[in-house]
């Protein structure tokens, strides 16, 4: 039996990292419950929504249950961190790690910057955008303008998110810039089909992780978390749509 306080801290840190960087709700709950049980506590319950985690367990019979919560303010996608926390929880449950060592490793995961450098992410957004513009019926000459537009949209998104508190405004600005650059490039004579280029430049903004997680959460019975995640994805899509609608009504 380990010190309840330490186990609680470690579990909540693991949950916080997972939820913040895009794990599904059921995975967070299952991981925390498993880790608390592996440390020898009973009556383990975990309740997770998109914005917070509650964890409670019984230290020993006759004593009151321990219960704490953490609030998750911002969410982003870094599946590498989710994978690494998963690995730590696997080793902890198998008894290969002590509470202190696990906590140490979680802190390290929390501290490490994003897995890929930011310039690589921008370039990757360009590759993804131009690839999809071709797949959606564009031609080979559209690859270059779609690449430029997608890179600029991605740069706008990241730079705006750094300063703006409202995330949806950043997404709208990114869609606006991406669409405007695409239209401008076609007017300048680079590329042929403006629709395909615009679609390509917007694809990197699509909330793929949230949508998949929302479906998974709803199906596993986490109705509250699934709904809130679905609404988040819907709002993102709407802000992209309004950004691009602004571009079209201004320039097309």
């Amino acid at each position: 039996m380990q010190a309840a306080d330490e186990v609680m801290d470690m579990c909540l840190l693991a949950g916080e990292i997972m939820l913040k960087y895009g794990a599904e709700t059921y995975r967070v709950e299952e991981t925390l419950e498993r880790m608390a049980r592996a440390s020898g506590f009973t009556n383990v319950h975990c309740f997770t929504t998109t914005t917070g985690i509650f964890l409670s367990f019984e230290e020993r019979k006759g004593k009151e249950d321990l219960m704490q919560m953490v609030r998750i303010d911002d969410r982003m996608q870094d599946l590498n961190k989710v994978t690494e926390v998963n690995q730590v929880s696997r080793e902890f449950t198998a008894g290969e790690l002590t509470v202190g060592a696990a906590h140490e490793r979680l802190l390290q995961i929390h501290k490490t910057p994003i897995h890929y450098p930011i310039w690589l992410i921008h370039l990757a957004a360009g590759v993804a955008g131009s690839g999809f513009s071709y797949l959606f019926g564009g031609r080979l000459v559209d690859l270059l303008p779609a690449y430029i537009a997608a890179v600029l949209a991605s740069v706008t998104l990241v730079e705006f998110e750094r300063y703006l508190k409202v995330r949806f405004a950043a997404e709208m600005a990114a869609a606006f810039i991406g669409g405007s650059v695409a239209i401008f490039l076609v007017y300048a004579g680079v590329g042929s089909s403006v629709d395909q280029i615009i679609i390509g430049s917007l694809m990197p903004l699509v909330p793929g992780v949230q949508l998949t997680n929302a479906v998974r959460d709803l199906l596993s019975g986490d109705l509250l978390a699934g709904m809130s995640r679905g609404v988040e994805a819907l709002l993102t899509s709407l802000s992209i749509a309004s950004g691009i609608a602004l571009t079209i009504s201004l320039f097309l």
């Binding site: 961190k81 690839g131 629709d195 395909q196 479906v215």
Partner: protein, 149 residues
Amino acid sequence: MELLLELVITFAAVIGFGIIFSVPKRALLLGGGIGVITWFVLQTGIAFGASSVFSTLLASLSAATIAHLLAKKIRIPVTTLSIPGILPLVPGSRAYFTMLSFVEGDYIQGLEYGVETMLQAGAIAGGLVLALSIFSFGKGIGNRYEAGH
């Protein structure tokens, strides 16, 4: 020949998406491979005359099945593989034309595209669900009439 080029481009685009979502390195190429298979199934289904919604369902089901199998094998959360896998199916172009029609005031055309978008998104979800139910076979959490006890 054209399909081959499309497959190569799918591979590159899916890997690009994988980097945006910070998929770990050991899953990056696998995710790209699943994306290629997804695109191939989708195009084959359409070439055989199936509707695009049904082809999307088949493609999403195969992507999710492969993702589940591989995730178990290399011990990695299944989302890191299933998200790159289903990305080629996202109805981005339908969604865009929906919005375009609404902006231009052509509401009937917009609704038509909108319904198509929804159906395609539903087919992706349906494929994910089918694969999930296959892989959680035997882990039932309870029956409506407690007949299972």
